[in-house]
Amino acid sequence: MVFSSLFFTFAFLPVTVILYYSLGKHFKNIVLLTASLFFYAWGEPVYVLLLCGSILINYCIGALLGRDDASRRNRKLLLIISLVFNVGCLAYFKYFGLIICTIADIGSWHLNVGIPTLPLGISFYTFQTLSYVIDVYRGKVKQQKSLILFALYSSMFPQVVAGPIVKYADIESQLADRRINFQGFYSGMRRFLCGLAKKVLLANNIGMLWSEVKAMPGTEISVLMAWAGIIAFTLQIYFDFSGYSDMAIGLGKMFGYRFKENFQYPYIAQSISEFWRRWHISFGSWFKEYVYISLGGNRVGTWKLIRNLFIVWFLTGLWHGASWNFVLWGLYFGTLLVIEKLFLQKSMAHWPKAVRHIYLLLFVVIGWVFFEFTNLTDMMSFLQTMFGIGGNALIDNQVIVKLKAYAALYIVCIIAASPWPKKRALLFKRNHGNIYRLAVTVYYCALMFFSTAYMVGSTYNPFIYFRF
């Protein structure tokens, strides 16, 4: 089930909310857990057993790790068992296919092995449970005694399929006891609506342009069209992903949970490292805490630092998908960060703001080419087109038509990706409190109305050759 589906918004959500708020305090977490397991099982009826298995095993390991009489050696052994199990599951279900295909390619063999399909959200919930086990091992948090609360933490429906990755330490105190009030409910609902609108109004629509460009034969794409397309994708992926995070944060809030922010206007950043502090924050901080710092972090010699950065960015790339182009994408950012850290850091401070911003956007946009094309040949030919190497036309009629049609949407998206509207709104709130309240109400009603229209409208499917 995805949040932007009619079944979720108009059936699953109202039923869950009504049950949650009509039952007493002790049942709330049970309602949420049941709803979460149902939500997960709806999309993955078989793999829900894998999720439950992972919950049980990690719960037991946590309980054993937390025992007072556990010796140091046993605790280390338990941690290793947990790491092998969690990372092993992830590796098998996500990367087994990639490994087999690569081996088959290298040796040009024909390997006939059953490749498992990817369980929904496994990359996210594995990271969440790992954060729990590692923190219990490190003594940073106490083991969770209640199986229900631990299961709820691992499978909570707002974030189980697409993040944010909530670290156990951040949410420990909220699991058993949290403030549930009206204020939180409606501000959460508004956040959910923002995310929904980002997804169905902005991401899906600007995404149409990119799908069209991607479907065009390589020789027919003009240089301008290539840029228009990849910029459309740049906007699409931001609104898609940050919209999904907004919906998750909003849903969490509706049930009393406070999750940390996952996106902070990444496209206004002025350096690659700043971009990564603003993009998918929960993921970056997970990697920093459990991988980068474990490897020694910043406090090592230059060579080790470079090695650490490359390990982290290799894994970051690999995490994003089981295909080598993601690794390339990760290493691309790793290289840029090394260059920034070693050479550019000092001189960049003197660059004009606009130059820094253009530098960041240019490299991020190029980065999305690596991210989007799984096929290396297509990727290279698209890059060549972007830089006018392929001999394609600079500009053609088609791109002018497209740009005219999409101009309004581009402008809306670019404004919406900046903090400007929020700043203006806060300013307006200070000066005209009453009008602001009215305007905000109208705004959210409009978001709801148009999001519904777009959700229903996208399923419009007239049958053209119908015989009566």
């Binding site: 993955e44 609902m189 049609a405 409208g457 007239p462």
Partner: protein
């Protein structure tokens, strides 16, 4: 008296704040209350019906897909929403009208 007014105002404000959620709730109830249609003149096709429960269909995921189509096909005032969608696309994208790319980058391939 004044206190009462203030109280009333607060209640009205709260209800207004909840409008989007009340809308969701209303659509859900209307959906349950309205009889299902079998045929759509506008789309010239038969509409999806509530699927019959089979455990095998649940396990292979096709049941969830059928419920999804049932939900969108039988959504209250479907033609009205389709109309709004088309109209606003006409304004926003100047008639650049094909169905929205319904892909989930956030969920895909993760």
């Amino acid at each position: 008296m004044r206190r009462n007014n203030k109280k009333n105002l607060a209640i009205i404000q709260n209800i207004v704040c909840m409008l989007p959620f009340l809308f969701i709730l209303a659509m859900f109830i209307v959906h349950l209350a309205l009889p299902d249609k079998t045929f759509s003149k506008e789309e010239r096709r038969y509409l999806a019906q509530w699927p019959v429960f089979h455990i095998e269909k649940v396990l292979d995921g096709s049941y969830a897909n059928k419920v999804k189509s049932y939900f969108s096909d039988q959504f209250p005032f479907r033609n009205f929403w389709v109309h709004i969608h088309k109209g606003s696309n006409q304004i926003l994208l100047q008639g650049e009208d094909s169905n929205s790319a319904d892909v989930d980058l956030a969920v895909q391939g993760k």
